[in-house]
């Protein structure tokens, strides 16, 4: 008996070690690309082309970042991205939250109608071309408005927020109604502060979506005037690579001294990734809570 339990505990311990080893390897695979690109981005371009840079830069150079931040188009792209995230997230949250509150008012006769009206849009859509034609007809293409108006209300967010709001005690709103407060006022003064956790979770989801989006920019804002950071950086990279292919070494050396597409690409990647990593702790705190919240409710 003694021996048997000892043997199982040895097997169990061996399994523990194996599990930890596998997980460490997985963690490394997830994080290594960022380390490698960080090292490359701080390395001299010509030197980096020799290879062999794995964890740390070999010949430190800030040329890649220098070129990026000297470029005023990059700052413009950053500006549009920040504006898009701020306006897009703010308006989507306000409207979707309001809808979620409305469909949670138990006495409202139209709550089911409104719920279904938006729920259907989760499963059926016109697809890319009819939507594209609509944006053209509304003259939303090549405007900043296309970044926030079409994403004003999100049915999935509605389900998440409504499930939270309908769990709040009805008395909270009823007493305000008796005091004569309007619904918009109740929403602003009571619902938003009380339902803050779910608002925070959804806002992070929406903000990351706006920051990362790429395709809708090239689809709707094709003239390049409202290029967001992601789109601008991709364009820049293609240009740099094209320059390299001309093989006009003279020009290359002159214009991009100490630079190579490799290090420049690494630096641009780091520039778009860092904001995500900065909000990551908040994201974890609220977002993961948000998902579990949704799944528990079903």
């Amino acid at each position: 008996m003694e021996i048997k339990s000892m043997r199982t505990s040895w097997a169990s311990r061996a399994a523990d070690v194996a599990i930890i080893a596998v997980l460490l390897l997985l963690g490394f695979v997830v994080i290594y690309p960022f380390i490698n690109l960080l090292a490359l981005s701080f390395n001299d371009g010509t030197d980096a082309a020799r290879g062999g840079i794995y964890f740390f830069p070999r010949k430190v150079s800030y040329a890649a970042y220098g070129m990026l931040f000297e470029n005023e188009n990059l700052l413009k792209g950053l500006g549009w991205s920040v504006l898009r995230v701020a306006i897009g997230t703010g308006t989507c949250l306000f409207m979707t939250g309001l809808l979620s509150y409305i469909v949670s008012i138990r006495t409202f006769s139209g709550r089911k109608f409104m719920r279904i009206l938006f729920f259907v849009t989760m499963y059926f859509s016109g697809g890319i071309i009819p939507t594209y034609i609509l944006m053209n007809q509304l003259h939303l293409t090549n405007t900043f408005q296309v970044y926030w108006i079409p994403s004003l209300i999100n049915a999935y967010f509605m389900l998440l927020m409504a499930s939270y709001i309908s769990d709040l005690p009805e008395a909270l709103f009823e007493s305000a109604r008796i005091d004569g407060a309007g619904e918009l006022r109740i929403y602003w003064r009571i619902v938003i502060p009380v339902a803050m956790p779910v608002f925070a979770a959804v806002s992070i989801y929406a903000a990351v979506g706006h920051w990362n989006s790429w395709f809708d920019v090239i689809l709707y804002n094709f003239n390049g005037k409202f290029d967001t950071l992601q789109v601008y950086l991709r364009r820049l990279l293609l240009e740099v690579e094209a320059t390299q292919q001309i093989r006009d070494q003279q020009l290359m050396l002159h214009k991009f001294q100490g630079l190579s597409p490799l290090t420049l690409r690494a630096a641009t990647t780091i520039v778009v990734t860092v904001p995500i990593l900065c909000v990551y702790p908040f994201l974890q705190k609220y977002f993961i809570g948000g998902i579990t919240l949704g799944s528990v409710k079903g």
């Binding site: 997980l23 960022f34 490698n36 690109l37 016109g126 009819p130 990351v208 990362n212 990647t269 998902i291």
Partner: protein, 301 residues
């Protein structure tokens, strides 16, 4: 009477708030659905939506396209591989994480694991181009280890494309999808494990007979959804990672609709192809749901 009046007043106020939302959803969600009608026409921008009816011509045309078979092959192979590797990966990760006793270690690994989910495809494409390029770290290591003499053209040789695409998908989504399974595992009653131990189940026995059945309904649900999306083989990743040299391996239905429909202005034809794809997806969800209802006793509707 006063109460009724008050209620009507309040409802009027709510309906007033609803009005702009209804207008918005009719405009941006329902009007494009109505716009699907152009797939039965030969739509020319600027002309009326009710002219040039051509019946099913646009749908039939797709089957006669010279690269029809290639597009279908790419779509089915890519999403089949995504399902084959992408579906079990988060389950395995969740099972491994669930077995870890040190809370801090578990939390750290888990936090790391879903970072890639929040990274854009633009960034993932940049990472791949950098690391898999001829001067990238992968070729560098393979040469130093003596496996190859010349850098491999990972990004410009179509034969590597599926592998690269599927691994980056797994890399990106695995950690995030594991969250759902971990929360399902957290919901399993601890007493079941106690009872299992009393019955003499070892560690693997507990996993097999308690943990796995505990997450089965979650897995079935996600599998049904995945089946419904079998024709969604990705879109942004193809456009960002692919290039003209790998097009034979990356062109899927969605990229085809974009390139042929939007970029070349074949609006009606592109819409028809897209519509066909969505309808097949819908039918597949229903079939998968039916089957799981019959054999697994769980379903999504």
């Amino acid at each position: 009477m006063a109460a009724v009046w008050k209620r009507v007043r309040r409802e009027r106020q709510i309906w007033l708030l609803c009005l702009p939302m209804i207008v918005w959803v009719l405009m941006f969600s329902y009007y494009p659905m109505y716009g699907l009608l152009i797939s039965f026409q030969n739509y020319v921008p600027g002309h009326s939506m009710f002219s040039n009816w051509v019946g099913f011509d646009n749908f039939i045309r797709f089957f006669h396209e010279p690269n029809f078979l290639q597009i279908m092959r790419n779509t089915l192979v890519i999403s089949g591989l995504n399902l084959l590797f992408g579906f079990p990966a988060p389950i395995l990760l969740a099972l491994l994480l669930n077995e870890v006793k040190g809370r801090a270690f578990k939390k750290t690994i888990q936090s790391l694991s879903y970072i890639p989910y929040f990274i854009s495809w633009v960034v993932v494409a940049n990472i791949l181009i950098t690391m898999l390029g001829s001067d990238g770290v992968l070729n560098d290591i393979l040469i130093k280890l003596g496996f190859i003499d010349e850098p491999l053209a990972f990004l410009t040789n179509g034969n590597y494309f599926w592998g690269i695409l599927v691994s980056s998908n797994v890399w990106k989504d695995m950690g995030f999808s594991a969250i759902i399974y971990l929360s399902a595992m957290a919901g399993i009653d601890k007493e079941q494990y106690e009872a299992g131990r009393v019955d003499g189940l070892g560690r693997f026995g507990l996993i097999r007979h308690i943990t796995v059945p505990g997450i089965r309904s979650t897995a079935v649900l996600l599998f049904i959804l995945a089946i419904g999306g079998i024709l969604n083989a990705g879109f942004e990743q193809q456009l960002l990672i692919g290039n003209p040299l790998t097009q034979d391996h990356y062109e899927v239905i969605d990229t085809y609709v974009y390139r042929f429909g939007v970029q070349l202005g074949n609006y009606s034809y592109g819409t028809a192809v897209g519509l066909m794809k969505s309808l097949i997806g819908l039918v597949l969800v229903f079939i998968a749901n039916r089957l799981s209802k019959r054999y697994m006793e769980s379903s999504i509707f």
